[in-house]
Assembly symmetry: C2
């Protein structure tokens, strides 16, 4: 294993310390350095009074998800666990409290068993402290039903769309029920599927998460390297992209005239050069079906350490979702 780290044990804390220093004035990282409390990330200014707060979290190793999305128009707090490990309720509770500006908090949870359980516990505890919390569960991965860490579909890159759009709804002043309803509309309309060319290596494990031959790829991979649908021989970008986009289009029942957001996400070790090739191929497949790609995002936003690979996410749009997607956002990783 070769990584730019000091030790597996310090990887997440050291990275968060660098993140905090690089984005001082925008975000604040609690629980690192001399602060011995639980680790969580908030906006530098704290909760916005009267605005619904947004909190998400999950295992580390998927950066910039989630801490990179803390800021105006997106999250108020993020809770990073150890690498590929759910954050604890101890971490989530103070994040929920810190995000509460008096209008309640929406917790955005990717569908992994550990995340679900720990967020549930944390929400109960926060509610005892008089924080009103609603929860939405993201489960956009069409690759598999149930998986190594999941009952039901996994939550993957579609989470970015949920966080961005719900964040815009909160920023425009929607109340908690309305922000939750918008988030649920995104969850209902977003689907993803990914492919791995290589495996990432969890620092404290020290070897790749799975074995994969020089001539094969894994279609339907999860963001922790969980098994996908099938192992196939390596193939052209056109063919691989078809195997990602067709299940997504089918699951969404996309038809002529639909408008979508197309998001091609890198898994951490794949360069932009390749992501734009996949984007072009995915877009062509959607357009062949008469679907209009009205919004686009291309980049490595939900990663799996240094895994080489990509995922394709499609979100069915309507005028409200387009407006909320377009609304200003100012976070370390996403800004317009």
């Amino acid at each position: 294993m070769k990584k730019l780290l000091d030790s597996p044990e310090r990887a997440v804390a050291d990275s968060l310390a660098g993140f905090a220093a690089a984005h001082a004035g925008e975000v604040e990282v609690h629980g690192i350095g001399e602060d011995a409390g639980p680790v969580f990330v908030t906006r530098a200014g704290g909760a916005v009074s009267g605005k619904v707060g947004l909190v998400s979290g999950g295992g580390s190793g998927h950066e910039p998800l989630h801490a990179g999305f803390v800021g105006d128009g997106m999250l108020d707090a993020a809770v990073p666990g150890a690498v590929f490990t759910s954050p604890t309720a101890d971490q989530i509770v103070p994040a929920l409290q810190a995000a509460d500006g008096g209008a309640g908090v929406l917790a955005i949870v990717k569908n992994y068993t550990g995340d679900i359980l720990n967020f549930e516990t944390a929400v109960e505890l926060a509610e005892m402290e008089d924080v009103e919390v609603a929860t939405v569960v993201v489960n956009d991965d069409v690759a598999v039903e149930d998986s190594l860490y999941t009952a039901g579909r996994r939550g993957v890159a579609g989470t970015v769309a949920v966080e961005k759009i719900a964040g815009a709804a909160a920023a425009r002043g929607d109340d908690l029920a309305a922000v939750k309803a918008v988030a649920e509309k995104v969850v209902a309309g977003v689907r993803s599927m990914g492919v791995a060319l290589t495996a990432g290596t969890v620092p404290h494990v020290g070897k790749p998460g799975f074995d994969i031959g020089d001539d094969e790829i894994e279609i339907g991979i999860g963001i922790h390297g969980e098994p996908g649908r099938r192992r196939v021989p390596k193939a052209s970008a056109t063919e691989v992209t078809r195997q990602l986009v067709e299940p997504v289009m089918s699951d969404l029942n996309l038809t002529q005239g639909d408008r979508v957001l197309l998001f091609v996400n890198g898994m951490g070790g794949t360069p932009l050069l390749e992501l734009y090739v996949v984007y072009g191929r995915a877009r062509a497949l959607l357009e062949e079906r008469g679907v209009t790609v009205a919004r686009s995002l291309v980049g490595s936003y939900v990663t799996s350490l240094e895994m080489q690979g990509a995922s394709v996410t499609v979100l069915r749009l309507d005028p409200e979702l387009e407006e909320l997607w377009d609304a200003p956002v100012r976070t370390p990783a996403l800004r317009w």
Copy 2:
């Protein structure tokens, strides 16, 4: 070789086609699809009347450099060559012409022999077409004097600072001589050094650009995988970062009270988790010397295909450079 490409021959054109579609309305890519002319990238709206135009270019494989930096507050046109291959004068001439809003054009050239020669030829040809062109050469890499493709120091990630700051000077209305002077101030004050953990694979070559053992890293690597200063055993992020930052600080003669931009750049295959660790270590070394890190950038902006590794760039700031760095920028890859 496993890559998300259809073929080595189509890699750059396919990627540019995807880039053009994803950022339609912001950029325009000429010479792909049915347009059989030379390949170059411009703002969607064309040159801005009365503003100095900025053009850069170089081999592909370093995305988002340079095409990702076309837009308000940065470049007016970019010229992508084949992978790791200088663009031809045929491509550069129409880019210089397209960027000319009547106030002349600044060409920003990374110091590689092929780039220098082809830009020189193109500038002569463009001047025959009555485009006034000034040129600045970026040579920020302190690792080696002369190299595989270079006489003198190589131009690497410092190019982003040159393009951003000169772009802001042009946007505020500076004339060609003034924009050139600002760009030269950045060139004089910016230094970089990189490290490779693994090698990238040029698509049409099909195997890694160099051999490197599982337990060694290359200090002072170039962005084409050119040899660096030395091959050493893998080491902690703290130790590796020290080997990058110390030569940069020495070369810049940084002393107590200096203010700098610290830019930690990923080589394409290294995740953000690790880049922030390097950032934290680099910042600590600068602060130990009494240097203030006044501005920061962390991300994969000048890549070497899927190479794992990072570079550290330091730019000596003054009030003018800070103001120009902070000025708004709206490009596919950099926006604030």
